[in-house]
């Protein structure tokens, strides 16, 4: 494709109105030719048209779907920092967990327990908590993803919250891919909350840092 042909198609190219063959030919030409000085402006103008579309909220499931697709193929062995504090809830039964993540918008249940052992809870922006458990029995295998690895001296602390009482059940940190998995010796019921906060790496006796996730058992997802 020569310069004249490219010029003729440049506006169509900027608007994504060329076919794949034309696009490839134009891009090959532009890679070696500096003559088409207005290309950048046309691309920018066409791109600006995106601003004329009305913002819309996608479904709650899209973020988790994206994050699940983007999971690294090689997930490293679960890494724990600090100690895991045992906790057993009186008469607790494993239950569906609905994320209502602080600062992350409403959450959604992708699959909920019943007699099943897998519960996955998510936030609209892709941060994810998954709880795997046999109903009514400890332990619960907890997976966090989409949470940035905390720097040296910090970690994520997982809490069970019931009747205003926050009880630490463990401390962890995600890996460089934003992922962590481990077992906690507790079971949730419908009234429980599961919370994750940022704390010093040794953990805190009470929540003192940012609440990055809060999941409530059962109930509404709002």
């Amino acid at each position: 494709m020569n310069c004249d042909a490219v010029d003729e198609l440049l506006a169509a190219y900027a608007l994504d109105a060329v076919d794949d063959d034309e696009r490839a030919a134009i891009e090959a030409h532009l890679a070696t030719c500096d003559r088409h000085e207005d290309m950048g402006e046309l691309l920018a103008t066409a791109g600006g048209l995106a601003l004329l579309a009305e913002d819309r909220e996608p479904s709650l499931g899209l973020g988790p779907r994206l994050l699940a697709s983007a999971q690294p193929d090689e997930t490293r062995a679960p890494r724990r920092s600090g100690r895991v504090l045992p906790f057993r809830w009186l008469g607790a039964a494993a239950a569906a967990v609905v994320l209502v993540a602080a600062g992350f918008g409403a959450g959604a249940v992708l699959s909920r327990g019943g007699n099943e052992s897998l519960v996955q809870v998510v936030s609209t922006d892709g941060a994810l908590v998954r709880a795997e458990a046999t109903p009514g029995e400890a332990p619960v295998k907890v997976t966090l993803s989409g949470l940035r690895r905390r720097p040296e001296g910090e970690g994520y602390q997982v809490w069970v919250v019931r009747d205003d009482a926050w009880v630490s059940v463990g401390i962890c940190n995600t890996n460089e891919n934003g992922w962590w998995q481990g077992d906690f010796d507790f079971a949730l019921d419908d009234e429980d909350l599961l919370a994750v906060t940022v704390e010093p790496s040794g953990g805190s006796t009470r929540p003192s840092g940012e609440v990055v996730l809060i999941a409530s058992g059962g109930g509404s997802a709002d």
């Binding site: 608007l15 691309l43 103008t45 995106a50 934003g178 929540p207 003192s208």
Partner: protein, 236 residues
């Protein structure tokens, strides 16, 4: 199992702020909600983290731009499931090919929208082709038969688009007004191209015009829109 009344109170407030129970405002550092609800994204840092395969960076990117991305895809495709497929494919392409992101290219939002538009257009055309041959799905069951590695523009394009988005509201107003001022013949082809994802040949076919006429109208129309934005920049 140590906890204090004061911490419980603060934590309860945090939960309230998160939408549980009483909607009183969150208190203290425990909440962190204010920061998270309106993230101040450092695009350069976010690009760097994407290139390091930091999944939380993808989550941040998605959180920041999901509404705009989905709105654009919906405008092109006209239905939510297809628009979500396009948004999903676009963010995944950015994740898979983060090495092609120019950290100095300016706003990541510009890049997101460019890729989302490309994916939406690709999907619209794929769907149209499927309808034409009455084969709704490709053999592997994936109706998004496009190369997932494509759609990320080169550094020059990223930087150019980012300049336009420096002042989004002003750009939106200028472009909206300029589009309305275009001659109907030019406006129609620009909108069919950008918002319906038609190629210049498909537009010619739909409007019963020679292909050369459509290409000419696209040049003139987009040129007028470009001039409207340049006027703003020169006047600034």
């Amino acid at each position: 199992m140590d906890h204090s009344e004061s911490s419980v109170s603060a934590a309860t407030s945090a939960l309230s702020g998160a939408g549980i129970g009483d909607p009183s405002p969150p208190a203290g550092r425990v909440t962190g909600e204010g920061e998270a609800a309106s993230p101040a994204i450092d695009d350069r840092e976010l690009a760097r983290r994407l290139q390091q395969r930091d999944a939380s960076a993808l989550a941040s990117l998605y959180r920041a731009y999901r509404r705009r991305a989905f709105g654009l895809a919906y405008r092109v495709l006209g239905d939510a499931p297809a628009a979500e497929d396009a948004v999903h494919a676009a963010f995944l392409a950015l994740w898979e090919r983060a090495d092609r992101i120019d950290p100095d290219g300016g706003k990541l939002g510009a890049l997101v929208l460019t890729v989302v538009h490309r994916r939406a257009v690709d999907l619209a055309r794929s769907r149209a082709r499927s309808q034409q041959r009455e084969a709704p799905r490709s053999a592997d069951g994936d109706d998004l038969d496009v190369d997932p590695s494509t759609g990320i523009p080169d550094e020059r394009a990223q930087q150019a688009f980012a300049r336009v988005l420096d002042d989004e509201e002003a750009t939106r107003r200028r472009l909206s007004a300029a589009l309305a001022r275009l001659p109907e013949a030019q406006r129609a082809v620009v909108e069919l191209a950008y918002f319906e994802g038609l190629t210049h040949r498909a537009i010619a076919e739909r409007l019963g015009l020679p292909d050369g006429t459509v290409k000419s109208r696209l040049r003139l129309g987009l040129g007028h829109l470009r001039d409207a934005l340049k006027t703003r920049e020169e006047g600034a």
